[in-house]
């Protein structure tokens, strides 16, 4: 029974999802909004349950397959809050495009459950299953916009490359299992600490695990799917893919590399530093050339993944908490940016080109202000939260002896500032090209305002998030 108590948030969410699924079958087309409200209610209740677990003593359940600790409780709460925001911003977009059938929210909730399982998993099999639960839901969500050829193409690419990445990860996991004889990460660590003979086998596995992780993160050179999927998928799904799953991927990386294979840290530090440097360089340089804002944000994601990895490269507790901070901050900053894009996309019209943002300041001040805050935060300008995130990962990299990587990071964030600031210039100093009226629902506007405000508040008082991040690796 104790097992069940620890896993209550997941159990509740999955049960509620099944209820949403079944109720959705009996709803008439004009009652579709009920599905949305039920999904949101399920998320809120789960959020309350998982925040109540923050501060609990670390405990593990199901024969060590699942554990709750400071990191998992707070990351889960963030994931749930971000998915809540994502559903809120996507609602009108979805119902206008007739993709708001019950399945969208059901799949989204299943994906969220997958992320929660990934965050809490301390067994390689659980991690893999959580990842698959998330990935399968995402593939289907991309493909759900069936009338759109680009979405189908993106879904196909995502599915094939995602399956390849899962295969890589599984291959690595099976090698580590072969070398250590256990799937439980704590036991894997004990075996590796015990004997160096076994670590060679595990090192083979590590290579594949890192490749699989890099694929899931979208780190260069395994980033090819990111721009195509971000661009092809409906914007609401792009928002879903680019926010919360990054937090889950971070947790998965910490569980596998830091909890399971800390003995091999010299090996994975090297691999991650190369991934980080390449991601920052390619992401920032290619983003400059993009005229499609979704593609631009895709390359921006790639560069931010590089920054996130830079925090982990140092292999210090301070670096892990910096990277955790970065993942959370990145997720809710991108949430705001895509939220604005969704509010602009109306009635069969997609805001995808940079020109769609031109003169936004004259059309709708609130949306323009939120977008501006998101862009400044992504560029890393003080006093917004993105600045503090960048600063802490740079500090961690220097502390870990990766001075060259920190220099690359600083250079690239200067270059990256160009394309973020270009959007601000377009919004406030150019004349509107598209003049259609923007009528965002009042709750969406309120959500965006809160989201934008959070970027400032957490920037001024980063300790509100950083405290939890430090506690997670204390």
């Amino acid at each position: 029974m104790d097992n069940l108590r620890i896993a209550t948030p997941e159990i509740f969410l999955l049960t509620a999802t099944c209820v949403v699924l079944v109720v959705g079958l009996f709803l008439k087309p004009e009652q579709r909004q009920l599905n949305y409200w039920m999904a949101q209610a399920a998320l809120v209740v789960t959020l309350i349950m998982s925040t109540s677990q923050i501060g609990d003593a670390p405990a593990s359940a199901f024969s060590g397959a699942y554990s709750i600790d400071a990191m998992s409780a707070s990351l889960k709460s963030w994931i749930l809050a971000i998915v809540f925001g994502g559903f809120l911003y996507s609602r009108d977009y979805l119902s206008e495009r007739q993709i708001a059938r019950g399945e969208y929210y059901t799949l989204g909730l299943f994906g969220t459950a997958g992320m929660m399982i990934m965050v809490s998993a301390t067994n390689m099999l659980t991690i893999y299953l959580g990842l698959e639960l998330l990935a399968l839901s995402l593939y289907a969500m991309v493909a759900l916009y069936r009338n759109n050829a680009a979405a189908s193409e993106a879904a196909m690419k995502y599915f094939v490359l995602g399956a390849l990445a899962s295969g890589m990860l599984l291959y690595g996991i099976s090698m580590i299992y072969g070398a250590t004889g256990s799937l439980n990460l704590a036991v894997v660590n004990d075996v590796l600490v015990g004997g160096s003979e076994r670590s060679v086998g595990a090192r083979f596995g590590l290579v594949f695990v890192v490749v699989g992780l890099a694929f899931k993160f979208g780190a260069v050179p395994f980033h090819m799917w990111v721009p195509d999927v971000y661009d092809g998928a409906p914007t609401s799904v792009t928002l879903f893919i680019s926010t919360a799953p990054k937090i889950a991927a971070f947790a998965m990386l910490i569980r596998l590399l830091v909890d399971g294979l800390p003995v091999l840290h010299a090996d994975w530090q090297q691999m991650l530093s190369i991934l980080a440097a390449l991601s920052m360089i390619v992401g920032n340089l290619v983003a400059i050339a993009q005229t499609n804002i979704k593609r631009m944000l895709a390359y921006s994601t790639i560069s931010h993944v590089g920054f996130l990895l830079m925090g982990i490269v140092g292999a210090s507790a301070e670096g892990y908490s910096a990277a955790m901070f970065y993942a959370i901050v990145y997720a809710f900053t991108t949430l705001a940016a895509f939220g604005v894009l969704l509010a602009l996309s109306r009635d069969g019209y997609e805001a995808v080109n940079l020109n769609d943002l031109a003169g936004l300041g004259k059309r709708n001040v609130l949306l323009a202000a939120v977008m501006m805050l998101a862009m400044i935060s992504l560029a890393g300008v003080p006093p917004l939260v993105g600045f503090y995130a960048k600063l802490s990962v740079l500090k961690a990299a220097i502390g870990g002896g990766y001075m060259w990587l920190a220099i690359v990071g600083v250079f690239m964030s200067v270059i990256g500032a160009f394309y973020y600031l270009r959007i601000i210039k377009l919004m406030f100093f150019d004349e509107p090209i598209v003049k259609a009226e923007i009528n965002a629902a009042s709750d969406v506007s309120a959500g965006l305002a809160v989201n934008g405000l959070a970027l400032v508040v957490f920037g001024v008082v980063p300790g509100l998030i950083m405290g939890a991040c430090v506690a997670a690796f204390g």
């Binding site: 097992n3 099944c18 059938r101 399945e103 059901t106 799949l107 299943f110 639960l133 289907a140 493909a143």
Partner: protein, 200 residues
């Protein structure tokens, strides 16, 4: 050579033969049948490895269900395999190269110090009274209960996704709406066209 080893070699020879025939035989139905033979002999080898539950599931699931489906598809779709074989000769060098590299890698791994057989000794033989199936079931519903439940959820997601993606209301489907048929008026059906008389 013990009798068990002899059985193993017989099974292994049949397995290799059948597997190579799957990709070399011309007729797709024959290829599917050879695949059945491959699975069956593979099940035999697993039986020798004391994995009787896996062996039985392989026969039941793959031979019994998946291959029947395969045969159905092959017979119903009437796939013309000739175009698929066109590039065979041109792709052969690349294929051989990749195959050779994989073979060399495997030889390296198996003969290397860390992956030698001594590092991973064969497990003790289980007694005749140990039931593989029972053990698997016990583990699945005790230690791996959580994973088992997640796997069930994944299957549910697969069902939801498959139905959501393939079930569609086709706009071009022809169907009758009796109420509209009854309430139809003359003006809906008749169009009076004014035409100038043709000149002679």
């Amino acid at each position: 050579m013990s009798f068990e080893l002899f059985i193993f070699y017989v099974f292994a020879a049949i397995l290799v033969f059948a597997a190579s025939r799957v990709i070399t035989v011309n007729n797709p139905v024959y290829a599917a049948m050879f695949l059945v033979l491959t699975f069956f002999t593979c099940a035999g080898i697993w039986m020798l490895l004391e994995a009787e539950f896996l062996a039985i599931t392989l026969v039941l699931v793959y031979v019994g269900a998946v291959m029947v489906l395969f045969l159905f598809v092959v017979m119903m779709l009437d796939v013309n395999v000739e175009p698929l074989r066109e590039g065979f000769v041109s792709y052969l060098p690349v294929g051989l190269l990749v195959g050779a590299i994989m073979l060399i890698e495997m030889v390296f791994l198996i003969t290397q110090r860390y992956f030698k057989n001594e590092q991973f000794p064969a497990p003790e033989r289980a007694g005749a009274d140990v039931s593989n199936t029972q053990e698997l079931g016990r583990l699945l519903y005790s230690e791996y209960l959580f994973q088992f439940e997640i796997a069930a959820i994944i299957l549910l997601v697969a069902i939801v996704a498959a139905i959501a993606l393939t079930m569609r209301r086709r706009p071009d489907t022809k169907y009758q709406t009796p109420s509209e048929q009854i309430s139809v008026t003359k003006s809906d059906r008749l169009r009076v066209v004014q035409m100038p008389p043709e000149k002679r």
